[in-house]
Amino acid sequence: MAAANLTMTNLEKLKNLVIDVFLIDPSEFRLDLRRDQVDTWDSLGVVSLAVGVQETFGYHFTQDEALSVTSVSDVAGILSRHGITFDGA
């Protein structure tokens, strides 16, 4: 599991995280997926996503960042600004 995680791209890691946190079907995942399109992206979902980002990428969202996220691409954008790149994104 850990070895597989090492070979995953950051985009794949983000995809798995979003699927796992919001329980969406893999086919639903898109970078431009917005909060208002996911019924399970509620307040606890915001917290879960922030915890998941820290566990997966080692970056801790500030409170403002966590609250400003309205789409998957926002997450990728914040992480990119902190050196975590998403090739192909």
Binding site: D20, V21, L23, D25, D39, D42, L44, S48, L49, V51
Partner: protein
């Protein structure tokens, strides 16, 4: 077993198991002095029982019997029953369960378990039927032979035994079982089709009750409902109502007369409504429906969580065993952990997660989904919730990141 004594200050304590034959039990039932009947292995010692029973009023020192509740709550206590009341209940059960066609009862649970004690041992005695002891699932080979040899038999089980039966006996059918009774927890509604295959001639009953009821309160024929939470209607002589917080309360002609624990004896009066430990409501048709154990309904982030309702969702997608234990999330908020047995396939897990997404808000989702090779069981066949929480070899399949 403590031998029969002529010392009236000592209440004989019988231990279930090979040391105590059914004949010993018969002998103590026939004598007037009250006796206690305990599981062979339990959280209390005969000495604890003797000490606790010092508090028993003199009027209960004859014509009564004491059984130990499972202790799964961590607070073991003795329930004191009246022999005559219990015999009356056995007669009522014989009538309402249409047991005249039953020739024998196969015992696969510890007889010291209130349900088996009244539903099987005492019923067999009162109705003049054969009692056949088996070693239960501890010796599946012997149990299978007993089931193969069964003739117009009644069998009493608890829900967690069913998947084990299926695993052990596969597609085998036991046509000699004509009555199949369940009690001691959630009715295994999800296994009904399998039970019908295994016991093609059996009428299947959901028997709701509790130790303080000694032990039965309601009766439901399996066909009469499609939800495990439906417990049917009260037995003759039993009255049910709900308390202010939705707790199920009962008055019963057969109930225990006192409870005894390390802190003393509490006498139960005839007028006292007793809490069964469950939340429930009555439907328009007069049937009763469980909403959860008093401790199985709790609030998480302000939302009421009913674990039995959640288990209903789970059982629609998962046909193995399932149990749960309580835990807290990283914010200190109360939640629960779902434990499946055996480990689910990835596809099944995904279906389960989708069922949570589709049918429940996030607050209802489990903190974790784990699996174990075997659910730890108490001697009476119920899942040992405390041991399950502490079990070290569980596998983690999914968790909420919170």
């Amino acid at each position: 077993m403590v031998p029969i004594t002529t010392d009236d200050s000592v209440i004989p304590v019988l231990l279930d198991g090979p040391a105590c034959g059914v004949r010993d039990l018969e002998e103590h039932w026939d004598r007037r002095p009250t006796f206690a009947y305990l599981p062979e292995k339990s959280v209390v010692t005969p000495e604890w029982v003797q000490d606790a029973l010092q508090a028993l009023p003199s009027r209960f020192r004859e014509d009564h019997f004491c059984l130990l509740t499972s202790g799964s709550t961590g607070n073991p206590k003795l329930v004191v029953g009246c022999k005559k009341r219990a015999e009356r209940l056995a007669e009522v059960l014989h009538r309402v369960q249409e047991s005249s066609v039953v020739a024998e009862t196969l015992v696969s649970l510890p007889l010291s378990y209130c349900y088996a004690f009244v539903n099987q041992w005492l019923w067999a005695r009162v109705a003049g039927r054969r009692l056949r002891m088996t070693p239960g699932l501890g010796r599946p080979d012997v149990l299978r032979e007993s089931l193969r040899d069964a003739h117009d038999a009644m069998l009493c089980l608890v829900g967690p035994q069913v998947p084990v039966l299926f695993r052990l006996f596969g597609e085998e059918q036991f046509a000699g079982v004509v009555r199949l009774h369940f009690a001691g927890g959630r009715f295994p509604q999800q296994h009904l089709a399998g039970l019908r295959r295994m016991f093609p001639n059996a009428h299947i009953f959901n028997n709701y009750g509790c130790a303080e009821a000694m032990p039965r309160l309601t009766l439901r024929l399996a066909e009469d409902a499609d939800q495990a939470s439906d417990i049917g209607r009260p037995l003759p002589g039993v009255h049910l109502k709900t308390g202010e917080s939705g707790e199920l309360l009962f008055l019963s002609e057969y109930r225990a007369v006192a409870q005894v624990d390390g802190s003393g004896c509490r006498v139960i009066t005839d007028e006292e409504w007793i809490a069964s430990g469950d939340l429930a409501h009555v439907t328009g048709s007069g049937r009763w429906e469980l909403l959860g154990r008093s401790g199985e309904v709790f609030k998480r982030y302000g939302e009421k969580i009913s674990l039995p309702q959640i288990l209903t969702t789970v059982s629609n997608h998962w046909h193995g065993q399932v149990h749960h234990y309580r835990d807290r999330d990283g914010a200190g908020e109360e939640g629960y952990v779902l434990v499946l047995c055996p480990a689910p396939a990835q596809e099944t897990l995904q279906m389960l997660l989708q069922a949570f997404r589709g049918g429940h808000p996030r607050t209802h989702w489990p903190l974790r989904i784990e699996s174990t090779e075997a659910l730890p069981l108490l001697p009476n066949g119920k899942v040992d919730g405390l041991a399950l929480r502490d079990q070290e070899n569980k596998s983690l399949h999914w968790r909420q990141r919170i």
